[in-house]
Symmetry: C2
Subunit: 392 residues, 2 copies
């Protein structure tokens, strides 16, 4: 073959070696990955239907059941990131014309509403300002007014730093003939959640927060009530990749012989398995305590620096991601850039409704240590001394 057949030459940038600098990831995720999980992700491959892989998937399923505190059979990992799990939940639950009530107090409610609209659902919004949470009374008003078949609510609002209390919401929804769908991407493993006892119907999370697993897989689980809604569907879900009927079979949740559905991200599953194993070894309760304690230390330290916490009520502060107001006389971008350049450390600015207003500091999984609390407080003190600028 003559070389002249190729009109697009090999790109020069790609021929240089890949260089990945070490960085302490104290933003809202991804968080750093422990060596054991890195090693699992770097393992040689197996086939997506090999018995060792199917067994590993069973172990992942059991690990998710533990992390979610559920006995739901329909429990598995989505072959995509947390966003993909949000979409999987919505597109399997909703049919064209179904009514969903979305509790919006940050970006995740906004996203869920956008996705539900794309799916042709009738979307009703329950709004709260960023930094606030919903009371059972707020929710009940919405349920009575809109008569939705699904309520979406965010447990850990990573854009605002709010931990939504879930107590009683499942029962409330069920009294009104509604399913409860909860986003726990940013909270799982860092704050107590009890899927079965709290009567949550669909729960999903991500891998790259407290689990310290690279993004690319996402735990999800459906209650028996939710599974019945799936079985009653009159139309197929708009996605084949995320069709829970097919996924349930591939994950061995339906009692049938497992069939090929898609080529799963095997190495992402290796990593997820190890992340779930490490959570099981530490134990949920110790993990919750650790996140709570380090978050409290961080908050106290931030107050000591003269900074103002964005979430006033201590009991609804998300233990994994802390939001602090950008102080007067500073540009948030100067602070985050300063930390990267001088401390090889990431913290983040706001997102969605909090852009420009807050800094977000994540202490998740192996990153939730008192040493990291001290490091980020030291770095911030340094930044506050260096980044001040006259009012723009």
């Amino acid at each position: 073959m003559a070389t002249s057949l190729l009109r697009v030459p090999p790109p020069q940038g790609l021929l240089r070696p890949l260089v990945v600098p070490e960085r302490l990831l104290l933003g809202p995720g991804p968080s750093n990955v422990p060596r054991r999980i890195q090693a699992a992700g770097g393992q040689q491959l197996l086939g997506h239907m090999h018995p060792e892989v199917l067994q590993m998937m069973d172990e992942i399923k059991a690990g998710i059941q533990y992390a979610f505190q559920t006995q739901n059979q329909l429990t598995l990992a989505i072959s995509g990131t947390g966003h993909c799990a949000m979409e999987a939940a919505l597109l399997n639950l909703l049919e064209h014309g179904d009514t969903i009530l979305v509790a919006i107090n940050g970006i995740w409610g906004q996203r869920a509403a956008d996705i539900a609209r794309r799916l042709g659902a009738n979307v009703c919004e329950l709004l709260k300002p960023a930094g606030e949470y919903f009371t059972p009374r707020d929710i009940e008003k919405g349920l009575v007014q809109h008569k939705p078949s699904v309520l979406f609510i965010t447990h850990g609002e990573s854009s605002t730093g709010v931990l939504q209390p879930l107590e009683g919401l499942g029962e409330l929804c069920h009294r009104h003939g509604c399913l409860l769908l909860v986003d726990a991407v940013a909270s799982l493993g860092g704050a107590p959640i009890f899927m079965d006892q709290q009567e949550i119907d669909v729960l999903y999370s991500g891998s790259q927060k407290v689990l310290n697993v690279p993004p690319g897989s996402a735990p999800i689980s459906f209650s028996e009530r939710a599974r019945e809604k799936l079985l009653r569907r009159k139309t197929k879900p708009q996605s084949f990749y995320l069709d829970m009927g097919w996924l349930a079979n591939y994950w061995g949740c339906d009692g049938e012989p497992r069939r090929y559905h898609h080529t799963a991200p095997i190495n992402s599953f290796f990593s997820l398995r190890e992340g779930l194993a490490m959570l099981a070894e530490i134990g949920l309760e110790r993990s919750w305590e650790q996140h709570q304690a380090n978050c409290a230390r961080l908050c106290q330290g931030l107050l000591n620096l003269g900074l103002e916490l964005f979430v006033k009520e201590e009991k609804v502060r998300l233990p994994t991601i802390t939001t602090v107001r950008v102080p007067e006389g500073y540009n948030w971008k100067d602070i985050t850039a300063f930390l990267v350049d001088n401390h090889a450390m990431e913290i983040a600015g706001g997102l969605g409704p909090t852009v420009g207003k807050v800094l977000r500091i994540g202490l998740m999984g192996c990153n939730s240590t008192s040493e990291n609390v001290n490091r980020v407080l030291g770095a911030l003190r340094d930044a506050l001394g260096s980044c001040h600028r006259s009012r723009l």
Copy 2:
């Protein structure tokens, strides 16, 4: 907190170490992963908006442009496996009521038709028996009869082992006001494809075949004609995760400042970058020659064993995956199980229309060597001597 809060205990299976046996993966994918790519996948994480990651994404984009032989700006990797890219292509191209003509000569056309129906498209099928391919005359007849806005066709039909000739199809489609969508999951890097010169409008592939990258990311590219169709949409795509408008921005394809869209599977991208770099280093033409030569050696060896190739015409045999008829007096499952148990080697049975009829042998990327040809032929000879059973 009292331990009694937890009703679901840590699962025992998860507390045992992860064990991944070494296996030579000569099925239809995934293929084995070279150490360099494994190491990239096991790297520490960075954030999904960090400049190093955005630069690496630019390099991936350039690598895909090289592998696809295209200068399309709208070129990127989907955060999911090849199936997910198929869905991304269809859901961005199609609106409710659009007509798509799907060329079906194996499982991938069937899948595309299923997905397009879920999306509410008007799906017309052009059928050929498994093992055959479409001529330009077949296609033209379908275009005239159904007047579709999109034609779907599979370049490398991994379920049947057919390589679909693409010459002239782009021009033909464009003469009939139709876009050409090509699935090259199983063929990319193993058989020549020239996206721009062949006037392909949407092309996608997977990572886990010739690129030898773990499944979890998928290259895709849209021509200017395809991009214009996206811009003319009256409705939003049914997915936010796969919305090409958002993805184009995140991948720096639209000239706007990059915004957060979703948390990308960073480590999968590290691996994909290295897989594309290795392909660029080897060079497309050498890679095509290598796959062609080893496939020819394999086919000759299979004939020498007295076996019958499923695809009769040599010129349309897929150089990456070879299909061979299950010989009389054998059960395919005995043969594949024998190879795993006695040779730590995977080959696969049929899929979809070829289930029970064929064995599939993949020689892809670093697995396409004359040594592996000899290994699999030796293992098959061994199996044929051991697995014969009287007619059932």
